[in-house]
Amino acid sequence: MNIFEPENKKLVESEQDFVVNVGPQHPSTHGVLHLKIKLEGETIKAVQPHLGYIHRSIEKMSEAGSYRQFSYLTSRMDYLSSHMNNQACALAVEKAIQVEVPERAKVIRILMAELTRLASHQLWWGAMGLDLGAITPFFIGFRDREEILEIFEDTCGTRLTMNYVVPGGVMVDLHPDFQKKVVAFLGRFKKRIKEYDDLVTGNIIFEQRTKGVGVISAEDAISYGCSGPVARASGVSCDIRKLHPYDGYEKLEFKECIETEGDCFARYKVRMEEMKESVKIIEQLIDNIPEGDFQAKTKNVLKPPKGEWFTRVETARGELGVYLISDGTMKPYRVKFRSPNFSHVSALEHMSKGGKIGDLVAIMATLDLVIPDVDR
């Protein structure tokens, strides 16, 4: 029954092995990821991730805070989709204390989540250009992301770690200018996304760098626990918004972007498509935000009954799971965050084996790793 064959995990076997440390401070690891790669010339023979450089034990810290307090920490996990992280925590707590969220709050949450996804993908697009050696996309991506962050700043007060979604709804009501600004931004962005295509998508060098690189098959993607755009690029249907809808995603019309090639270019295409879908979702909602409360009435101190709840949310990077266990007191007994990037890092070796160093960089760029999310 044991189909398991132990692989030799020792990286340096002889003096001839050429082992290079990529990271913890390296321009293309987007943070403090440390990879040990074994090379033969330019070809990668083995990749070994070393994690923990930014481990803050958010799960342990969450056990110390109350149910209202712990979710602000999750903004610091995947800081590029902090809204969705907060949303996942809020959903878990709401499930536990059985609170019905008002319609208006749900719509605001979706709007914010999709704007976050847009901003995250814009940053990814820019950073990916940077990884592949083109520096200009970085600035163009950031220019558009900046506008979204300004919208966030208006409503939430903060640009990156918002802590806007709280159990029971959202923290404060939308800014009066919110709708106007979002509509104006979408109008501009729909024109600008063509620039993205001009500069990168059609570019022959970019295509050569990404097509057929870092291929992961559908079975492997599932087995490695890949989710989000990475799994969808391999043809796995895994959009939580479709499969297990939350906060009213079931009422919206949008497409789950699926490619089948499973290479870097497919992942790129999926994310580009997702941006367009996010724009569509926002357009469906922005003109008819229901009136009403933005927050349900909840008790001051939240005390869920004994039990455990699991919520799954589609962040910009994939599936975020929050596993919340309560022992009946006012503090969570155990919180586990299933972060998408953690699984993607484990799939890194499978994807990049046999490729060149340049391929490794391209793969890491299209996996869209956020290291604080890996280490937590």
Binding site: E42, L132, G133, A134, T136, V200, N203, I205, Q208, L360
Partner: protein
């Protein structure tokens, strides 16, 4: 109309009045050297400033604008900063080669500047094998890179140096072949004669399609020889942090930078001389008035204008394109540029032999 020979003659006569003939020669060499060095530093500063501004405007930024008028002195400030930095040598490095590498890079670059005609009279040494000399000397630069990469005792540096070696050796071929096109057309390897052969029209206009192809090939191969994006495999910031000069601090690093910018200038100057007529003004057929106006612009301005145009194109490449992978880089050379330029050369040779060119 504009002539530097008066100035040089004046200096020569002034010196002859005070020194023996040997002393005059020595002094003249010193003066030429100082002028050369100063102009090189000036050129490198200009290019550094230009690169920053071009990059900034292409990236929706303002670029340097704090030090000096519109940031013109920023590069001077940076140089001063690099000068004051500690110049350490890594413990495990091969100290002699480590210190020698940047010097080789800069010396080679300066050597290759000798035969380039800035104007008809402003030329350091007009040798009859100028083109050959330049392509021979510039390829020594790779030795400097290999030395830097190997002696740093750093794996990134070594990888970068090896990449650069493979790259420069391959791209030398198509760059050379595209230069030979012009040599075949003008029938000389002497830069001054090549420029003179373009008196009735630049090669890019006279030579039609083969010269256009040669020009494009020259631009691509030249960019690759410069180790600049999209061919910056030797540095490849996101892959190898800084490639062969990862370990170099302070002024030694600045020398690599100086060499890079000067190489870019030299490449652009060669391109301008061979394809765009060097210091020759633009003349259009029989438009006498137009030609007169064009003649009025000093040759040095013509030369610099053309050179900086090519420099701008190279910068434009850099700030637009992603980097190639090392195997694609070699594929581009051996499967595309090399066959194309070979066929092109045969076409040109036939045209020259049959007297078909204009």
């Amino acid at each position: 109309m504009y002539d530097f020979s008066g100035v040089t003659r004046g200096i020569h006569e002034f010196l002859s009045g005070h020194f023996s003939p040997l002393g005059v020669t020595l002094w003249e060499m010193v003066i030429a050297g100082v002028v050369l060095l100063l102009s090189l530093v000036l050129i490198a500063f200009t290019l550094g400033y230009m690169e920053r501004k071009v990059a900034a405007f292409m990236q929706l930024r303002l670029g340097p604008n704090r030090v000096g008028f519109r940031g013109t002195l920023q590069i001077v400030a940076d140089t001063l900063k690099l000068l004051f930095k500690e110049t350490f040598v890594p413990q495990a490095a091969d100290k002699m080669l480590f210190n020698l590498a940047p010097i080789i890079m800069v010396v080679v670059t300066m050597l290759s500047l000798a035969p380039i005609p800035f104007t008809e009279t402003l030329q350091f040494y007009d040798m009859n094998i100028g083109v050959f000399y330049v392509s021979a000397v510039t390829s020594i630069g790779v030795v400097g890179i290999l030395m830097a990469g190997w002696s740093s005792n750093n794996k990134y540096s070594l990888l970068g140096a090896m990449r650069s070696g493979a790259q420069i050796v391959s791209y030398e071929l198509s760059a050379g072949l595209s230069i030979i096109v012009i040599v075949a057309l003008s029938g000389s390897m002497q830069f001054s004669e090549i420029v003179q052969s373009q008196a009735n029209g630049w090669w890019i206009f006279k030579g039609h399609i083969p010269v256009w192809i040669a020009f494009v090939v020259f631009l691509i191969a030249g960019t690759a020889e410069l180790n600049r994006a999209p061919f910056d495999m030797a540095e490849a910031e996101s892959e190898l942090t800084a490639g062969f000069h990862t370990e170099y601090p302070g002024m030694r690093f600045a020398m690599f930078l100086l060499a890079e910018y000067l190489n870019m200038f030299i490449l652009a100057a060669i391109g301008a001389t061979l394809f765009l007529g060097g210091w020759m003004p633009l003349h259009i057929g029989n438009l006498e008035g137009f030609n007169k106006v064009m003649d009025f612009i000093p040759p040095l301005v013509w030369f610099m204008g053309k050179t900086f145009l090519i420099v701008f194109i190279i910068m434009w490449f850099r700030w637009t394109f992603p980097r190639l992978r090392i195997d694609q880089l070699l594929t581009l050379e051996w499967k595309f540029l090399m066959p194309i330029s070979l066929v092109n050369l045969i076409l040109v040779a036939l045209a020259v032999i049959l007297g078909l060119h204009f």
